[in-house]
């Protein structure tokens, strides 16, 4: 029988580490339970980003979240990348390493987007095989996140939730359940997000992501640019009830407000951890943008600008 969270600790409520908050965090040492980093921003750094990370890692638990593993690609796995990932994890005592159920490029290219794969037996076999290789190299379970997606393939023969469940069981990996992504994809692909959450094997969920998104009218885009909306909080509550609590993190990557605002947003999760609370009315409104193409960019998009005097 599996231990809850595959034996990982429930780290509490964390925040995605972003460069605009470096100074605040170092100066004020806020009472945050933990931080998640974008792995690729630090793997090769020999400058301030890495220096700041080391200071923060001395004080807070760190989790590594990648955006370029490309586990679903048909390109060979990048072993040099995996080696660097492992080295960084060891040096900052990362609690776990996560990435996404997606591919980011093929034929040697990287689109820097989290692209969807068809969900069928062939792709399942492909992913499971690659996850096992990665886990052997990293010498630890890989934690994979359900992505937000904006299209589905005719080649799919199973739902995303079925695919993710089977992938986790067959590859013996962990799951990072992004409840905002579940919501975004459920609207875009017209499935029931509650059934999705209910289907996920609770003991394999190591971590949860929360984020804001943009409603473009005909579809939602995972922009990480605002507050978490009520329907997503309700999914979080369901996830919390099923898992009995996992490390939970808020991602805020565009129009990033001051650190206390971001921190306050993730602390709202406490309200939904009380199982006696009724599920809130899902009628809360969110703004719909009228010209989404100019502003709504699905994340990831994270570049660190040089500081010059």
């Amino acid at each position: 029988m599996l231990k809850p969270r595959l034996g990982h600790e429930n780290l509490g409520l964390g925040v995605g580490l972003r460069t605009v908050h470096f100074h605040h965090i170092l100066e004020h040492q806020p009472e945050v339970d933990w931080f998640e980093i974008i792995s690729e921003n630090f793997m090769d750094s020999a400058g301030r980003p890495r220096h700041v990370l080391e200071q923060i890692a001395d004080r807070y638990p760190i989790v590594m979240h990648g955006v370029s593993l490309s586990i679903g690609s048909t390109d060979p796995l990048n072993r040099e990348y995996l080696k660097k990932l492992k080295t960084l994890a060891e040096s900052i005592n990362a609690r776990w390493i996560s990435d996404h159920v997606c591919w980011t490029g093929v034929a040697g290219r990287n689109t820097h987007d989290l692209l969807p794969i068809p969900y069928n037996e062939n792709t399942l076999t492909h992913l499971v095989k690659r996850i096992r290789i990665v886990q052997d190299i990293l010498e630890r379970p890989l934690i994979l996140e359900n992505p937000s997606s904006y299209l589905e393939f005719q080649d799919s023969t199973m739902s995303e939730s079925e695919f993710v469940c089977r992938m986790a069981e067959e590859a013996d990996c962990g799951l990072l359940l992004d409840v905002n992504n579940v919501y975004v994809s459920s609207v875009n692909h017209e499935f029931d997000p509650v059934k999705y959450i209910e289907m996920i094997p609770a003991e394999r969920v190591v971590q949860c992501h929360l984020a804001g998104h943009t409603n473009c009218g005909t579809h939602l885009i995972d922009t990480h640019n605002g507050q978490v909306i009520d329907p997503v909080w309700n999914l979080f509550q369901l996830m919390h009830q099923r898992t009995e609590g996992v490390a939970t993190l808020l991602e805020w990557d565009a129009d990033i407000p001051p650190f206390p605002v971001v921190h306050e947003e993730v602390l709202k999760a406490r309200k939904y951890m009380d199982e006696n609370l009724p599920v809130r009315d899902q009628a809360s409104k969110e703004k719909t943008v009228t010209s989404p193409s100019s502003t709504a960019i699905p994340h990831p998009a994270s570049f660190i600008v040089a500081e010059v005097e």
């Binding site: 069928n120 005719q154 080649d155 692909h189 885009i221 600008v305 500081e307 005097e309």
Partner: protein
């Protein structure tokens, strides 16, 4: 071909081609590269990508296509903010589109995305302008310095190194100095520009909208201290001497090169040398000395 048996590799190559095609999804589907993977009319897209009740399959593919250039352009704009200011957003966007087609992103990190941008601009400099300095040269120089800033900022530095001390330098006997070679800091860069691009970049980073400056030969010594990139203007004479030391010449030979350059009068050189070396050591341009 049955749905499930369609080759995943083909599908990924096809999708990558279509969403990164500069002319849009339909043009991407029609492109030779996409057709070689999956022969398809754009009207048949639904055989690959499903529609939703609110979006066609074409619109759904369009989300990824729009995001591809928007995301990468956003990152390039952040790294090359002064170049955006100098070129204007529209021209920068157009150049970036061409750059991304010529230099496809291949790295796992976005830090490498703009690595070839200065080279790309140089390669695309209009041929008629080859022998005269103008706006294009200025743009290339801005891009070059912005990229150097990025590399110095996140590359190897000297923050964890033991720096040269006065004791070490004082231990070198005067007669030994000509034979001494100096090891430059790994973050040290010596650059020469035809325009004062450093000032232009600084103004932009402070939120100003500076005018394109007049041509002015500008030599810069760039390094990093306490994890922040520092740059200072050096004279042509300093530039020459530092460049010779950077090439590995010993102090005596480097000074000889400078003395033979006519950049300074011999008596002026004598008074300047001590001051320069003292400052360069304090600024940690050098991190070690060796006596041959």
């Amino acid at each position: 071909m049955s749905n499930e048996s369609r080759n995943l590799d083909q599908l990924q190559r096809w999708m990558q081609t279509v969403i990164s095609w500069p002319g849009g999804v339909e043009a991407g589907i029609d492109s030779e590269a996409a057709q070689s993977e999956i022969p398809l009319e754009s009207s048949e897209l639904e055989t690959i990508v499903t529609a939703s009740s609110r979006q066609t399959s074409l619109e759904r593919m369009g989300i990824y296509a729009n995001a591809y250039y928007a995301r990468l352009l956003e990152c390039l704009s952040e790294e090359y903010s002064a170049l955006v200011s100098a070129m204007g957003k529209t021209a920068f966007g157009a150049f970036s589109m061409e750059y991304l087609q010529e230099y496809h992103p291949t790295s796992y990190t976005l830090c490498d995305l703009g690595a070839h941008f200065p080279q790309f601009l140089t390669e695309h400099k209009p041929p008629a302008e080859e022998n005269e300095l103008n706006w294009t040269d200025f743009l290339i120089e801005v891009a070059t310095l912005e990229r150097v800033y990025s590399e110095v900022f996140d590359g190897p530095g000297i923050e964890q190194e033991t720096l040269l001390t006065a004791e070490v330098l004082n231990s070198i006997q005067p007669e030994e100095w000509p034979e001494v070679t100096l090891k430059m800091a790994p973050c040290f860069r010596l650059m020469q520009f035809q325009f004062p691009v450093h000032e232009f970049i600084s103004h932009v980073r402070k939120g100003n909208s500076p005018q394109i400056p007049e041509q002015q030969l500008t030599c810069l010594a760039i390094t990093r201290r306490n994890y922040v990139v520092r740059r200072e203007v050096v004279s042509q004479a300093e530039y020459l001497l530092l460049s010779k030391l950077q090439q590995g010449l010993n102090v005596g030979d480097a000074i000889t090169c400078l003395a033979e350059s006519d950049l300074m009068e011999p008596e002026e050189l004598g008074t300047k040398l001590h001051k320069w070396f003292k400052h360069w050591t304090t600024a940690a341009f050098f991190i070690d000395v060796s006596k041959q």
